[in-house]
Symmetry: C2
Subunit: 193 residues, 2 copies
């Protein structure tokens, strides 16, 4: 009763990412930071300096609990678990409406101003982009193969991992294809750099 159960406990996206991780298994803040790099980092990145305060907020809202365990750091090591309230909040987040996020894509913004630069510069830049996307795509495809090897049942945890990675693969493939399209188009530009 000492935690706020009256207010619906507004939770940030990072909060939901952490609740999602803790729904899978208990973890320390450090563990969570590692997992936010990989595999969650494919679609939601966060650093430890965000994670520790967010865990404190989630705990204040009664969505997670911690127990102190023996650890190697200068401060006590805390192992977090999801509470029943935390599970409820996460499920109702999944059930709730998802309003579209603002579009913000630096690569497109840059493309849009590309006429100010010459064809040579544009070719170099798109080539560099292409390489970057290709690298990320390779990682994603390796991840997908690993998950598929577990032969997940439709709708289970691992299957949802796979579905998330599948979206990443398809998005990167689209960007890669656009880079290739751009490179053939740039052939026809007037040279000026």
């Amino acid at each position: 009763m000492d935690v706020a159960e009256s207010t619906p406990a507004r939770v940030s996206s990072l909060g939901h990412a952490l609740l999602g991780l803790l729904a899978r298994r208990e973890a320390t803040g450090y563990d969570l930071a590692q997992q936010m790099r990989h595999p969650v980092g494919y679609f939601w990145e966060a650093s430890h300096s965000q994670i520790y305060p967010e865990l404190a907020r989630l705990e204040a809202a009664g969505l997670v609990d911690h127990t102190v365990v023996a650890g190697k750091g200068p401060r006590p090591t805390k192992r977090y678990v999801l509470t029943a309230a935390g599970t409820r909040v996460q499920v109702s987040w999944l059930a709730g409406v998802m309003r579209p996020e603002p579009n913000r894509d630096l690569q497109t913004l840059r493309t849009w101003s590309l006429w100010l630069a010459g064809a040579g510069l544009a070719r170099d830049w798109v080539g560099e982009r292409r390489q970057h996307h290709a690298e990320v795509l390779r990682d994603l495809e390796a991840e997908r193969a690993e998950l598929a090897a577990e032969q997940p049942a439709p709708g289970d945890r691992v299957w949802c991992n796979l579905a998330a990675v599948e979206l990443g693969v398809r998005s990167r493939q689209a960007e890669l294809a656009w880079c290739d399209w751009m490179l053939t188009e740039i052939e026809g530009w007037p040279v000026s750099g």
Copy 2:
């Protein structure tokens, strides 16, 4: 000489969006806010409350200039133009390295936690996502048709608009295809909601 020309004038992404707009034509802050909704809003959104302070910063850095014109607002109306320094900064931004942005995609994050919900909830959500992407895609394709009708020369302003919209179209198509894939996959889920 009273503006800072010694420091390289670090400009935010929003700043580059505004410089890109002003490189095309002069505009008031209000005009810029309209254009940031459409067509720039397809890939970089910003509200007027961000734009006015940013214009002041760009002016302090000597990248834009304004003249006061007769207007209908309670305050003087300002018409902004790009300076030579502004053009230089924009071009060197295009030439500079672009380090990859952090991945942050709410739709994928949600997919990743979807196993906590039942198949019914998942189907509804993906269906709603599908509809949203389809709507945006329709808008983008209309925009693309309009730009293509202008028969732009490779590498010019309008052609770069087209290239930016092309990337949007391809990305949305990929997301839409993923939604369709998900919907067929969800058929095989165990029913539980």
